[in-house]
Symmetry: C3
Subunit: 210 residues, 3 copies
Amino acid sequence: MRWSTLMIVLEVGGIVAFAMSGLIEAMRKRMDVVGVFSVAFVSAFGGGTVRDILLDRRPLFWIEHEGYLWLVGALVLTAPLWLGVAQREVGARLMTLADACGLGLFAIAGTSIALEQGLSPLVSALMGATTAIVGGVARDVLCNEVPQVYRDHRPYALCALAGSAVFLALSAWQVPSVWGSTAGVAVATGSRLLAVALDWRLPRWGRWPR
Amino acid sequence: MRWSTLMIVLEVGGIVAFAMSGLIEAMRKRMDVVGVFSVAFVSAFGGGTVRDILLDRRPLFWIEHEGYLWLVGALVLTAPLWLGVAQREVGARLMTLADACGLGLFAIAGTSIALEQGLSPLVSALMGATTAIVGGVARDVLCNEVPQVYRDHRPYALCALAGSAVFLALSAWQVPSVWGSTAGVAVATGSRLLAVALDWRLPRWGRWPR
Amino acid sequence: MRWSTLMIVLEVGGIVAFAMSGLIEAMRKRMDVVGVFSVAFVSAFGGGTVRDILLDRRPLFWIEHEGYLWLVGALVLTAPLWLGVAQREVGARLMTLADACGLGLFAIAGTSIALEQGLSPLVSALMGATTAIVGGVARDVLCNEVPQVYRDHRPYALCALAGSAVFLALSAWQVPSVWGSTAGVAVATGSRLLAVALDWRLPRWGRWPR
């Protein structure tokens, strides 16, 4: 009971955070309302949609929970009203927190869905990372940028994988899934927040001339 | 009978219009024959393919109606012969008309397919808009541009949504689907033609520094 | 027996070649380890994944053969160790050979899978070409480039189609599939190697101002 309420709070938090990242990116590119809505939608739902297609799950999660669509629609439609305030008062901190919560929740949600389908730990962890990062990758492709998550040299997908690894280990040891999920989300979200706070960097991977 | 003939005329008109938009864009980018064919194909079939995948419909519509493939193939192969003439004699007007017909037909086709699967009006309208715009979005992504439909500040997806709304309202009132479809296509296509003729503009959606 | 061993050798060769092309492209763009892994993965598995989704085949081929994932992961993780050596000693030649083998094998694999599902020769050949080129297209889109295969004016997809045509003709004449597959792979790979060796060029397709 409490767990599923917590799940919904976190999932909604992740959707809002990812939708806002798309919203802001689309506005920077001076898109019109259709562009802003599309990019926000793809950012929020892209990762879960690709996961559902790869695993052949229907209905897609945003068709099953149609409220998520109304939520993102309302966010986009009202954005001109509150965005100036958000920018001055809230700043980047709340965004970073919401984005980290979204990362953790989406990663564990994707991993546990794949595990329930009987897939191997490696594939399950990849499905978790896919759920967490594909929305942002699609956002950047639509905005004609190299995906930020591939080049900003900060741990992001690795935090998702760390959380998934903890979740998978606890599942293998028969820990009840409520505890395993909580620990997985905590590790993914926590390591992401630590990485931002302490400015951890990833090395460039190899060298190639030109 | 007459309706299904009209449907095929319009659907073929839409496919031709979308294929030509891809053809022209690929030529501007100086692509070779493979690039021109691929971009024309993705422009014409991308929207319906994504709709079919999201709704888990198989066979895909262009596998079921293989004639469409031959049509687009023939268009691309003969393009160097007639494109110069088309450019001088026909100009942008016929393209705009065909594109608007394609928009209306694809939007209503997508909406009615989703409605038949028992999906909600909101999801059905989004499937219609997806069918109508994803081809153009994929075309622009392959040509390494920000999608035109997101940034040209003219109503396009909104015309599709208006047509879908009319179609959905008439369906809810038990109007026979022939009339509902006709009205929906007329509203989507007509509002698009009006928007071009009268130079309607969409506002930029919000502001964000840099 | 021997044929399936040969198949696996060639398929692994193709995966390695396509993964390396993604690896190198991602390194050129100065991506971090997550970007390099993602781009290598998409290059190697993108074509087959899109084929499997279009044809509604599950599990996806890289979920069925999980060893392929470990292979690409090991390649990426060890890349900094051997890449400098590869660059000096092996150069572009081995890459071209492996890439051509991958092209041929992926094209015939895609074509024969589609044919087994009862699809028409045209659709089967397109599925073969899709399997062979979509990985490279996705790699270039993620790296924010116009896909190389669309604009380098060298035969690549056409070699895939030529191989598929030979395979389809031999299948239609009831030639045992081992021989048909071998001939198809040989034609696709051989024509690609010839095209590189003899510097064959494709014409620009049509002209369009600006």
